[in-house]
């Protein structure tokens, strides 16, 4: 088991390294590093000085080494706009994005599993078919448009929910969170729902497929033959089997959810790192962009690793095999 974890860790480190190479090439080979790393407002002399200071006159491999060395120390450059370390800027915005993404994932579980279970247990009922038809929209509707419609209906027409911002926040562990206040929660509801739409559809379909696959299995029939209540058969026996693939997929989708928060944050003016990256791209604040990309790649790889670990915890078959 430990050797297996160790192997996966080494693998993860290699992927991170590969991604740093890609980002480095993107910045230094495809793009013009002088333009990317030096403020566009700088004059000729300043530029020349910066080129030497940044080591841009050195061979590429040396530059990469320096980039990596700095990155390891958490130094990914300074924002032109805020004149602050890019990584710190990202880190400040990260809680807002994280709470949005986590809430979205929770929503997709809370809504997707019951709906999918219903559609799976009653595949031919009107409601079951409607749920499936509806899930197609979750996949194909452009999420920014759905966000606009949510605002139009619930904020503008009905006036039930606030349309933008994080609302009131409260401090926990020195970080501001919206989910701790009523007002913050009200602000978070629409963006979280919007962000979770695709995931709801995904979880729903997985759950339905799992239910349809598992219900005819012998073990379900045997559980019923033991005299268990239908509730226990479905929610313990069947669910336990469905949960494993769902957890895996949700885990893997978490990275995408964080990435897609870019869109939702823009629609709802949610001050997370997605909003920051769009603003940064618009003003060409490239150190922030690089920091964001490295951050999200790192996040992705960490999540994949965690999901793999979780998978072995959840599924006794995998767990015992890997132990041997």
């Amino acid at each position: 088991m430990t050797t297996w974890i160790f192997r996966r860790l080494i693998q993860a480190i290699f992927v991170v390294l590969a991604m740093t190479v890609i980002v480095f090439i993107g910045v230094n080979v495809i793009g013009d590093p002088v333009e990317i790393l030096i403020s566009p407002q700088a004059d000729q002399a300043e530029r020349a000085r910066a080129v030497i200071a940044l080591g841009l006159d050195r061979p590429l491999w040396e530059q990469y080494g320096r980039f990596l060395w700095n990155a390891v120390q958490g130094d990914l450059g300074k924002s032109f706009v805020f004149n602050e370390p890019a990584l710190r800027l990202i880190a400040q915005r990260m809680p807002a994005t994280m709470e949005l993404a986590v809430t979205a994932v929770l929503l997709s579980i809370v809504l997707g599993i019951p709906l999918g279970l219903y559609a799976g247990l009653r595949p031919n009922s009107f409601a079951g078919r409607s749920i499936m038809a509806g899930s197609i929209f979750g996949f194909s509707l452009p999420s920014f448009w759905v966000g606009l419609m949510l605002i139009m209906v619930f904020a503008v027409q009905l006036g039930w929910l606030p349309s933008t911002g994080r609302g009131q926040t409260a401090t926990l562990f020195g970080v501001q969170w919206s989910f701790l206040t009523r007002d913050g929660l009200a602000h978070m509801l629409m963006p979280a729902l919007n962000l979770s739409l695709g995931n709801i559809a995904l979880v729903l379909r997985l759950t339905r497929a799992g239910a349809r696959e598992n219900m005819p299995m012998d073990y379900v029939k045997f559980a019923r033959a033991k005299g268990l209540s239908p509730v226990r058969v479905v929610f313990v026996h069947v669910m336990k089997n469905i949960t494993i693939p769902i957890v895996t997929v949700i885990g893997l989708e978490f990275g995408s959810t964080v990435a897609f928060a870019v869109v939702t944050e823009s629609v709802f003016a949610w001050p997370g790192m997605g909003k920051l990256i769009i603003d940064s791209i618009n003003v060409l604040d490239r150190p922030v962009i690089v920091a964001y990309l490295m951050m999200i790649v790192f996040l992705f790889i960490t999540i994949n690793l965690l999901v793999d670990l979780l998978y072995t915890v959840l599924d006794p078959r995998v767990r015992l095999e890997s132990r041997e």
């Binding site: 033959a225 268990l228 006794p316």
Partner: protein, 323 residues
């Protein structure tokens, strides 16, 4: 005195898009306390569906179309689902064919056993666990206490079937339906389990319906035998009587196809042809396409006749007594 179980004219049909599958079509039999009934027939003859019908586990598109199932004289086809549930696993238990599939792969054995205890008895967790452990011990699983916290995939097929049997025994049921529980196992393990179940059934006075396609299994185990073909029971009687002197051509064919010592050197006779499709089965004796004795008469449904005490046959041209 009423039988433990009496089945009268049971018909279970599946309404599929292609047509109505009459998987069970007018089946009658009974079992008594401490008795073993062998339900024999080729694969696809409706044995499993019969078993599921008895515990009310026929699922759509199937349903019980006709007949009565009397458990201690009470018709359980009319029972509401909750009362049926209280019978299942408690007073009537079932063991399935494929032990690799019957246990939930992601739940521990103790979970799967204790939940069965809790489903029918208000007892503490400790008590439920103790009962589960005892049941495991009873079916010959070594160090049951440790095995309780294992997962199904840590057991061999034979051991898993023992666990399933232990689960069936948890509430000392009055009736056990065993659906080919040894078919998927090695011959030696098959023999052990047969002996084990027979002993337990005798000790507890349980009525046992043993479903199999293998006459030789039934020969050593059952008291009486019911031969099923295409959803109907074509012959019943005491095991010795039926095996010594089969009256139905199909039974005779089955016996002829079993290898045995005293027939060594002679050719095994296979029954020609295949089990018929149960969809849109034409009227008349379903066996007539494969039957050597068939005549024009057989295009009508053969009536049930009772040629001797405790025997029943459905055939126009019963085999000569001394075949």
């Amino acid at each position: 005195m009423s039988h433990t179980l009496t089945v009268e004219g049971l018909a279970t049909h599946f309404h599929t898009r292609a047509g109505v599958v009459k998987a069970v079509d007018g089946v009658s039999f009974h079992v008594d306390r401490g008795e073993v009934l062998g339900l024999v027939g080729e694969s696809g003859s409706g044995k499993t569906v019969t078993g599921f019908s008895l515990i009310g586990l026929v699922e759509p598109p199937g349903r019980i179309a006709a007949g009565r199932i009397l458990f201690h004289g009470q018709d359980i086809t009319a029972l509401p689902e909750e009362e049926l549930r209280q019978l299942r696993g408690n007073r009537i238990a079932m063991i399935f064919q494929d032990p690799m599939m019957t246990l939930n792969p992601v739940l521990r054995i103790d979970t799967q056993m204790m939940e069965t205890v809790h489903a029918h008895a208000k007892v503490s967790n400790a008590e439920a666990r103790a009962r589960s452990r005892d049941a495991l011990g009873m079916v010959g699983i070594p160090s049951p206490e440790e095995r309780l916290s294992a997962y199904p995939h840590q057991f061999s097929g034979g051991m898993r079937q023992r666990v399933a049997i232990a689960i069936a025994l948890l509430h000392r049921p009055e009736l056990i339906i065993a659906d080919e529980p040894t078919t998927a196992l090695d011959v030696t393990i098959q023999a052990q389990i047969l002996a084990e179940v027979q002993k337990l059934a005798r000790e507890h006075g349980t009525a046992l319906i043993w479903i199999t396609h293998d006459l030789s299994v039934v020969a050593g185990l059952a008291d009486r035998i019911a031969v099923m073909y295409a959803g109907r029971i074509v012959e019943t009687g005491a095991v010795v009587d039926v095996l010594d002197a089969p009256l139905h051509p199909y039974t005779a064919g089955l016996i002829g196809s079993v290898p045995s010592r005293n027939k060594r050197g002679t050719r095994l006779r296979q029954i020609p042809g295949m089990t018929p499709q149960l969809i849109n089965l034409p009227a008349g004796c379903a066996f007539r396409t494969r039957c050597a004795s068939a005549t024009a008469e057989c295009e009508a449904d053969p009536p049930e006749t009772f040629p001797a005490f405790g025997r029943a046959v459905r055939c126009f041209h019963q085999q000569a007594e001394a075949s």
